[in-house]
Point group: D2
Chain length 473, copies 4
């Protein structure tokens, strides 16, 4: 049921966390992952080290399900990295959980990755041609294979040479027996931040992880930067020629937590401005404005503030919705909607309402919710979406629609989409209105999902080669 | 960590659900309990029957943890009752989970109870004097013992005679091989509603359970009413002389879900009016008004609407906070606060803010949150509470403070409490303001926790008799 | 698969253990039950106390499955009782696990029982007539109800008065906050022994439990004896007029462990003498004698010693057979036989063999094994059974055939049974040969299953009253 | 406790099983592993395929713990391989469970291995020098890396070239999407047999696995043979020059199940002849001869038959000893002995006894048991061991002593060892007596653990390279 509803939502992807120099590193990594749980709920893993030995634990499920006290107590050491992810279906899902761990020349290398490597299949074919054996179908496994021949020259040299071959989006944390490494691709597609905790260092996909563990934000890991942390301190390396950044604007619109700062911007404030700009573009005659909680909350607040139309929380979220494996029986109609959100009928009956959504991908979830609102006697239902129509798939780590289609790619006009969902009217924020809300230069962003302008060519379709489980890490 | 923070909140207590005439009764009961999960998270249980056999399953934990598909498939039958509860610590906690099931004269009696029987100990002593053997320390077990001698006269007679001896708050659902019974005490302390689903009948503590399973609300079970449901239909019995109702006003203020109607009133609307009345009583000079999510949301909305002060959601809730058994290490400061709620620093920095709370019982949770806000650079913090100070304990089923004290019972003036919590100023809603918001006659409510006027005498302290685990069912 | 084969074997029933005066009482009880595991594998439970509080844990499965370190650490106290049992199918099996625990007049009473109360249903009806409420369908629950009215006169008086009403087989251990009680019925159907451990006391169904925990055997609890153990020491009470003992001879033949002494006799030595007497009665012309391991081992040794025919272990037991829930596919023939016992073909091919069995109840297990031996090319197969034909059911706690029939009750002559099983010839030990092997007076035994002479009348069939789950405790 | 006692026993090592052409292949593999459980109890794994897809499941624990019906139902396909193993402690034990699975050029390769590759570390260093990345620390992972560059020439060629580099003991089963391969090293150190089941093929470490699944033994996989099984049938390849066999004689003496035939010999019969030869070499004056069950049973039978001294089963095995994680308290003395074996005191008291053991490695287990027997009042205790003293470690897959030492390597004379164990006298079977019992040419065996004559040079100690978890597969 959880899945039934959420499968239609865009899937981020992954979250990574690293800590160096904390006597209880795995525990800190656990809480770091806990704060990043929204970035991936299908598996969780932590690898820790103490300068000499390496330990790991991975499992399917939420961080709090995978890690119990007895598991955590078997992950000693003062450095650790962790990962949460959305897995994809396939033969052997656990083998794709991260961090993955390899052995080479008496050293361990653990790697956790957020993003997607565009030329992974081509590199893999090339490596296999030379005799490489892969343990997983993850795109990031190519990186360690590319490194291996150069490790004699040192980890810095090996990583630089390996990454020079790799194209795509990657925010990576790595661990060896005594080092933590943080890496961000030259375009900086995905966020990655550096923090400090009690004299040690922390790295996280989002700053909300620092808040939870009590770390202080220092700065972002820069696009194209490799940071090596060991006993001698923190060393930064920027081996690649600088290129124009291509930050994923969808992180600010949808994925990241509102209490995080990503790409130097506070997510909550950006979303309120998205709502404000929506109000400037579109103002139907309604009695109240409300979000579909919780992702639409902040744009709805911005809209209400700008428009002076009352803000209400007309659908109530069941806070215990999580992992119920019981299937409802046939007779319980519209179940998928109600288990998560239940409308407050006396508030909505006979009203004209405006719903603020942060994204409409397939449209089916919205359609179910709108039908449920109609049953409560809502008179008019309008919808404003705090971003433009999503018309193109993302090769850099976001899975917009597992099995479905992008409704905006199919239906050209807002009126068509509104009809499909069952709305009286509908409006998507303009690209200009979206960029204006970010208060950053528009060409620092990747807007490919809206305008098809891919900063890096997406991967070709391969002919005979069929990598079953190719994951969005 | 879940507990660390929430233990200081008032504990409801229990939720009950019953279904008659559904081919998948236990499944419907599961979803009914799922919707009532906020009323008790420590144990869950379902008893089902098919006219001949009886099955049961109970366990510690959330409904979705206790019931998996394999468990549910072993609960056949077309009638079922269920229960969620807060347990109290004690020797053998599982034996206090409900529904509890007894055997007598070739019949089964399962009973699930929300409320607290005031004269349970006296009745128990009397029954034991006559040789009764108890299987639990639950107050409601006395009811079946009181019934037993009269069962030969029929269940209606036996229940009537038994309940004539019982004083207190009880909203009860019972099940036999082929009957479901719903009972509400003469004062109607706790809510209990009747619904219909596909030609069968449903009973629930709150109407939000009907919404989830697709049942339609019919009416409340009346104070003092016994409803018997079997193959011949629904029979209502009102054997007791009518008395003045004493609905628990705290259900509307705090416990019930905002999308429920209880005592004939919509909870969301009542809470908005509480906030509106707060704004009429207290208006500090602030930049924004915000709730501690989620329970303060609706009063905050009402306050903002009345006062025209901007409403913000300045603390972000981690939706994956549930059951993490990992303890944070010492170095992570203020952990208890942040794991659940994290402030949006850029929004709050240097601002004067008003927080709306729905209750302040011990004050320690608020104090931690306020300290965390101060660390973010909030300039002034004021607080308005959407009910009067809670000064008296509740003998009718609410556990205000397990181990702590009622701060308002200790500290006489708002200024003292504000100082304890670290606020610049503070205001509790007046009793008049509270009652006005309900749009019901004030003397239909039990206000004992505010004014000490107990509709029924609370139980005496017993001397030698020490019932260890005496639960608030 | 475990069950498929073993369901046809006679089912003991239960094992009980008690310990008083050990600082780690529950742990000792755990190991005591571990040694008694052969007496019941379906559920296990321990109740402990420290003079003031009482704790319990029960679960379905083997002792080592039910009790893990974290569970055991929550059972403190210096006195404990425990129970292992075969459960019967029914509505709510866990509620029939023992020890069961009741509360009465501020005291706890936990009770664990081995045996069967013959007049339980009659007593139950009588008690229910007076208003008693039962928590289980166990026969032994009547005892606590019978006690309750007399508890004011003290536990000794109450127990004496209650047991005066009870007829049947009962070896019982009880626990209160600060006492352990051991009880054996006047006929001493089931064994119960008293031991001492480090200045404290232990009670067990068999002496092998004393060996495992390092306790020393003191004496048997006498038929009709009640032993009370508390801070003031051990008090013995024999309130009933002495009657002729009726020890269950099947304990020595089949149930008890060979390293135990029961009824004052060593089980291993008795079984060897049974085999010796078999050899004196029946001597087919064979090449070797072998048991079906392990229960036939000792009689086979006695037979070989007396007859000078070589002893072989021609079927090998898989020691990992325990709890496999995987069902074999259709194509694997004779699976039930081989998974537990696999023949050593080169040893048996073309041989004439004599198999020694300790009991043949339904004959189906033997038939499968004999067929498998034929497939290996065994030329002649004869069988000697170390007891007489079992012709009558047991009302005192042994479940000879859950769903099947007693083959010896159906088929009059050995030749008929041999033909059913597929044997060349067959012989049952005579009643005289059996009694002679015990080296005790024959009339100290209950021989009802062999000769139908019931020492106590078996319970009548009740008409309308249908106690679904009536267990053999 | 299970471990406490058994850790001192020699550790086999591993068992492998494969099935091709059965519609329920994983289920058959499950039961095959179940029969081979004695060869490894720490982890179990199955990989299955259907010609196109590949599935796997591995876990720590017994086969019956790792595989439940829900797991097995997710392993479809008509070919499967499986593995049970003793793991060694290390960083990440699950990652060393087998079969391990790799991906290369759009094909999967799963491999399960019994034995030990002598030059694994040298090969690994060489491969890593060329850039190979390893997923585990298992010796057999080198085989797939050695194969990879040649896979373009076909699997036969690639395996032949890879195995030409490999030295040591290996009985291997492999699986691809549509093939099963069985491989045995040129010396045939470990057993591996071929069987047929319903028109398909089975491969197993021991023939007892065929008995359980209903397969028929066809022949042994020959030393140096590679067998490829696919849709076109069974193809045999013998690419290596023949060398003298070196069968592990300890398989017949100790490891293999008595109902198996290995190296063409029945294990039960060999062990009886070992006992017979013992009786010809050593005949102390005793009242009875007994084994420590169960491994000494068969030699003890042979000894008794030859010597005419009565055979007894003086120590009783607890059949429920398996996995108890509860630690006994200090007060329970000699616990480790009694939990598994309990002496039958009345049988042994005041007797002179001879114990038959199949191996004495460290001597500590025997010493505990002998002390326990002395406490029972045994007068004289002699011991005969059905093999010569184990004086040399095994580099081919047997782990004689995890942390301890070989007592026979330390103490030169039998008298010294007898004194250590607490015996009155002791005798080890001579090498001649051992070989004679096998009824095979003595120089077909590896006798290195007895005489130090290693058929292949054992691996050198590596200097800086320290492969932490180097497993005996």
């Amino acid at each position: 049921m959880y899945n039934a509803e959420d499968a239609a939502r865009p899937h981020e992807e992954c979250g990574v966390f690293a800590i160096y120099g904390h006597k209880d590193a795995a525990r800190v990594a656990f809480f770091g992952l806990f704060a990043l749980q929204h970035r991936g709920q299908e598996s969780a893993g932590i690898t820790s080290a103490d300068g000499c030995h390496v330990w790991e634990h991975k499992g399917m499920g939420l961080t709090s399900e995978v890690f119990r006290e007895d598991v955590l107590s078997k992950l000693p050491g003062n450095l650790a990295i962790g990962h949460v992810r959305y897995s994809t279906t396939g033969s052997s899902v656990l083998s794709n959980a991260q961090p993955f761990l390899v052995h080479h020349a008496d050293e361990y290398y653990a790697l956790a990755h957020n993003g997607n490597i565009v030329n992974a299949l081509a590199l893999r074919l090339e490596l296999e041609e030379k005799g490489a054996i892969f343990q997983s179908t993850m795109d990031s496994e190519v990186i360690v294979h590319l490194m291996a021949p150069y490790l004699k020259e040192g980890l810095e040299a090996a990583l630089t040479k390996a990454l020079a071959r790799v194209e795509g989006a990657y925010s990576i944390v790595m661990l060896t027996r005594n080092r933590v490494i943080a890496i961000r691709d030259p375009r900086g597609f995905r966020p990655l931040s550096l923090g400090t905790l009690n004299g040690g260092w922390a790295v996280a996909s989002e700053t909300c992880a620092f808040d939870l563990v009590g770390a202080e934000y220092v700065r972002d890991v820069l696009p194209g930067e490799l940071i090596f942390i060991d006993d001698s301190g923190l060393h930064s390396l920027m081996p690649f020629a600088p290129v124009k950044p291509a930050h994923c604007i969808f992180e600010l619109i949808y994925f990241s937590r509102p209490d995080s700062n990503v790409f130097g911007k506070n997510v909550y404030m950006c979303r309120k401005r998205l709502g404000r700009n929506l109000a400037r573009e579109y103002r139907p005659d309604v009695d109240l404005v409300m979000p579909f909680p919780d992702s639409g909350n902040y744009a709805a607040l911005g809209y209400a503030e700008e428009s002076k139309i009352p803000f209400e929380m007309g659908m109530i979220r069941n806070h215990y919705v999580g992992r119920t494996f019981i299937q409802p029986s046939q007779i319980m109609r519209d179940f998928g909607v109600q288990v998560k959100l239940n409308p407050v009928t006396p508030l909505l009956q006979d009203k004209k309402i405006l719903i603020i959504e942060d994204s409409v991908i397939r449209g089916t979830t919205s359609r179910n919710r709108v039908r449920r609102l109609r049953e409560c006697g809502v008179r008019e239902i309008h919808m404003a979406v705090s971003c433009p129509p999503t018309r193109h798939t993302c090769p850099y780590g976001i899975d917009f629609s597992v099995r479905g289609e992008l409704i905006a790619a199919e239906k050209e006009k807002e009126a068509e989409i509104a009809a499909f969902i069952g709305l009286d009217s509908m409006h998507y924020l303009s690209i200009g209105g979206m960029i204006d809300a970010m208060e950053m230069p528009g060409n620092d962003f990747c807007l490919a999902c809206y305008n098809g302008a891919y900063p890096l060519p997406p991967p070709p379709k391969f002919g005979k080669f069929c990598m079953e489980d190719a994951p969005a890490a």
